[in-house]
Symmetry: C2
Subunit: 422 residues, 2 copies
């Protein structure tokens, strides 16, 4: 074995890192359950066809795809939504809508790596499917804020940048852009990733005239919905967005939510509300992103209104580390059972078994190291107490229990100790 590193762009999780991951997943899971969502999952391996789209989504270019031994074209999922759609249409007749489903899948994209960007990440996915009105957005964004709060974050750290694809569509109409609006939007989404000059050049490629580009850039710099409305008039998308912002403010989320016309998101199938969570310093990539979309089975001609978000584990853990908000999570063991010598091994196994049957977490130290080292190890593995099995005490049916934090010891008969292990 020559290469001990994980595959470039992927991560190993040593126990201390996995405790942190479990903490984060625990917040995601608990928040989802509190909002009445049900957990589901699909396989990381999917048909490549699910991700081949026409609008130039980055996702298609970044696929990990290959043929299996049977010649099937497969891919590691870059996102979960197409799998969710597949599951829904497979059982559309049996399922009760609206669905509120969540999952924590690992997703893969072959990307150039920078800070907060690996080639895999775990992603908290929350989707409400089959509910058209803004209530779905309000419930989903409430869950998002609740999850952020549970991590110790406030609106002083992060904000939800919110817009609506239909508003940008109205802007492009207003500017008489005749090119395919979706393709133009996918270009506008690159705004943060390329220079202003490159962006202008890409817009020219899409057929926009210099005057259109100048006016578009001016609108994209507008900070308030009022300014946009003054430019476009009270188009339906602006009115809807105003209502949504009002509802969220009444829920107490006014500080959390920030109107931002530049939010587009990169996927071609989004149809309305779009949002992303960003750190206030704008130092990191988007922490989470979501949108309204139509979940549709083209064969059956059925479509469901849906809204959902994805929230990755990589960027948030970097932000929480920067803010010193990561919890200190130590290994926890109730009892370290320490036999003095091999003569006490059988007794140690027996006592360990009795404690575990009582639901306690037990580690047995059969390393043969001396008492001092064994106690040091008990302390290192996070044992609350050590049970010492010494020849003399055992001969009298007794053992020694050491409280590791208090550094105090007591003697007890084995029977009394097992009747009430402490």
């Amino acid at each position: 074995m020559t290469d001990l590193q994980p595959v470039r762009g992927t991560r190993d999780f040593y126990p201390e890192e996995l405790r942190l991951r479990n903490w984060l997943f625990g917040i995601w899971r608990e928040t989802a359950l509190r909002f009445g969502f049900e957990e589901y999952d699909t396989c990381v391996l999917e048909s490549e066809a699910l991700y081949i789209r026409k609008a130039g989504d980055e996702i298609t270019e970044q696929l990990y795809s290959f043929a299996d031994k049977g010649g099937r074209r497969l891919a590691l999922r870059p996102e979960l939504t197409p799998s969710l759609a597949r599951m829904i249409y497979q059982r559309a007749r049996q399922l009760r809508f609206p669905l509120k489903w969540f999952a924590i899948p690992q997703c893969f994209r072959y990307e150039r790596m920078t800070r907060g960007r690996k080639r895999e990440h775990f992603q908290w996915n929350m989707d409400i499917v089959g509910q058209a009105g803004q209530i779905a957005e309000i419930e989903l964004l409430s869950a998002l804020v609740t999850g952020l709060e549970a991590m110790g974050l406030t609106s002083a750290h992060v904000r939800i940048h919110l817009s609506d694809r239909r508003l940008l569509d109205a802007v492009l109409d207003h500017l008489d852009v005749t090119a395919d609006h979706l393709r133009v939007m996918i270009v506008i989404d690159k705004r943060d990733k390329v220079t202003p000059e490159t962006l202008d050049a890409l817009l020219v490629e899409q057929g926009l005239a210099p005057a259109q580009i100048a006016r578009l850039n001016a609108i994209m710099r507008m900070a308030t919905l009022a300014e946009i409305k003054a430019e476009l008039g009270a188009v339906p998308a602006a009115v809807d967005l105003e209502n949504l912002l009002g509802s969220l403010a009444r829920m107490g989320y006014g500080d959390w939510v920030h109107f931002d016309i530049t939010v587009v998101r990169g996927l071609s199938y989004y149809t309305g509300t779009v949002f992303e969570v960003r750190d206030r310093g704008a130092k990191l990539r988007a922490i989470a992103g979501g949108a309204r979309y139509l979940s549709q089975d083209l064969d059956a001609g059925v479509q469901y209104p849906a809204v959902g978000f994805g929230f990755g584990d990589v960027v948030i853990l970097e932000l929480l580390a920067d803010l010193k908000l990561l919890p200190a999570l130590e290994r926890q063991i109730d009892f370290a059972v320490i036999p003095f010598s091999p003569a006490e091994h059988a007794k140690a196994l027996e006592i360990g078994q009795a404690l575990r049957r009582a639901g306690l977490r037990v580690d047995g130290d059969f390393s043969g190291s001396n008492l001092k080292r064994a106690l040091q190890r008990a302390s290192e593995i996070g044992a609350a107490r050590a049970v010492l099995l010494m020849p003399e005490e055992l001969a009298r049916g007794e053992l020694v229990v050491r409280d590791m934090a208090a550094r105090s010891e007591r003697r007890a008969t084995i029977a009394a100790f097992l009747a009430e292990p402490r």
Copy 2:
């Protein structure tokens, strides 16, 4: 989207299936923690080189492997042990041995599908690394039995078939087999998968003479260690195995553990104890399998004695279903909040928010369906109580709380209800 099915050999987990998976994973995790194991994880995507071996392991032939966009040869992991070894040697100097680590990875093998055999499964992995004596086997097998018991199984349902590769090695020595013993063992491991005639032909291919094969088959039919010892003499492997069986019997696991010379396991790097969990009816594939092995970094020349097992989710769920031991796990919601009409939506959001902040699981019904249907849905989604927001009651600052099981209703002021939601 034309194909709604998951990729052949892979599974979707709808919420009712995921609840069952979480139940099983919960038992695995809780058992591991009770035995003092720490959780870790690696990426499902690994370097193909980790799995290329010379001994003709089936695993190499069944790899999902491919080149990424950078030309790296990658594979979806078929098992976790090579990744574990990689992690250990990456940090060998910082880690404290013995390690007791567990994980629940998804593993992939491109296999012909039959009952209990898919192309992916989740596998409970438990490994003790850096502990040479039989205590490691005893602790590991105790954890295995504890996990099986937590699923409701007894030794009347399943048994651990136990042997030692060194014993089979001694048998081959005894028969003067000069061919590579490891390759012969890999052939013997196919015993349950091919006909006796095919097995004999494969042994001939390995260079065994008809007389050797006949004597080998006779030994493989021996049911007790005493018979084997009568044939071979008290070879060290037989003595060790006798000691291990004795220790396990003293722990109360005598009925669970069954000596079985035919157990070999398919991996080339196993060095000692080998075992598998089998259903008593022998109707299913092995439920779990494990072995002693040497975890080694060939570059560094360091090696650690290790023992571990893998326990898949597919076969056990089939067995538990056959035995009607699967729990009935329903969706659980504390409160379904039901606004009478859109006029009560804002109040419903507010009450839902207050209940969720109190840690309760809440679903809001904004479907606009009539009260009867809304209550039916509340019952279907497993709500313990429904909170009805009716115009007249709300005007008086009151709401109606319905206990879904008792079919009883009570009125309460909003303030009183939120002070003590029940």
